[in-house]
């Protein structure tokens, strides 16, 4: 791959767009030139982290009556995959989310999304600021 892929997605803040966003992620992953061990799993990995991140933004970061669009950015370089999901809501404390499946009997109904993202990506940050928060998820492709 000579150049990076950089895709910006803006859709209304609604779960009905999850399928579309997931499919875009799968297509991006298929176009990514990465080592064999990663190539097979990257489409489904990207689809799930996009879904979990977007749902998190809809449920926790955007206010319930939000008219703000969802803003998702996917960047793939030779080095790594970076997904950023932006929101303008009150945000949440990523560090306060319990490490779900390690501290429990596995029977919680909620809180599994961030655990899934943390399990599949190398680094996960939630950067809060006055105007726009961003959930940044990064995975090495080297």
């Amino acid at each position: 791959m000579k150049n990076d892929i950089d895709i910006d997605i803006r859709v209304p803040s609604h779960t009905r767009y999850l399928r579309m966003i997931g499919r875009i992620g799968e297509e991006v992953a298929r176009e990514t030139d990465c080592p064999e061990g990663i190539r097979e799993t990257l489409p489904s990995l990207l689809a799930i982290v996009l879904t979990e991140g977007v749902v998190n933004a809809i449920k926790h970061a955007h206010s319930a009556d939000s008219e703000e669009d969802l803003h998702v950015r996917i960047n793939v370089s030779k080095k790594d995959l970076v997904v950023r999901i932006y929101d303008n809501g009150i945000g949440f404390d990523l560090d306060a989310v319990p490490n779900h499946s390690l501290n429990s009997n596995g029977l919680e109904e909620k809180g599994r999304g961030i655990f899934i993202i943390r399990s599949l990506m190398d680094t996960v940050k939630y950067i809060r600021s006055n105007n726009t928060n961003v959930l940044e998820m990064r995975k090495s492709l080297a």
Binding site: R19, I48, S101, G106, E109
Partner: protein
């Protein structure tokens, strides 16, 4: 959401006839599970043959159903997990919680 429930050998078998179980449709499954339990169902098999994508919301609804079945001294078992679904169960270690079968027949066999 396209759901179909059949009574097979005294066990309710719920076929989820969608390709995804995610935050956009999982509440509908939760409502149907509640309806089944409220109407006296105790033993339930959920067939996920057509589901090729599940997220944490979908998993959460299945966990909720599992707990409700246990409270009623019944059971909720799963059949026909496709590869992405299986991976998600393994990642979240839920394969240790649920009884998972390769087919509806195998799941029914476990009740005989």
């Amino acid at each position: 959401m396209d759901l179909k429930t059949e009574n097979m050998e005294g066990v309710a078998v719920l076929f989820v006839r969608e390709d995804r179980l995610d935050a956009n449709n999982s509440e509908e499954l939760k409502t149907e599970l509640r309806r089944l339990f409220d109407s006296g169902t105790k033993d339930l098999v959920i067939d996920l043959k057509e589901i090729h994508f599940i997220d944490s919301s979908g998993l959460g609804v299945l966990v909720s159903g599992y707990k409700n079945a246990s409270i009623l001294h019944g059971s909720l078992k799963l059949s026909n997990l496709q590869s992405q679904v299986k991976s998600m169960f393994e990642l979240t270690r839920l394969q240790r919680v649920f009884d998972i079968f390769t087919s509806v027949d195998d799941a029914l066999q476990s009740y005989r």
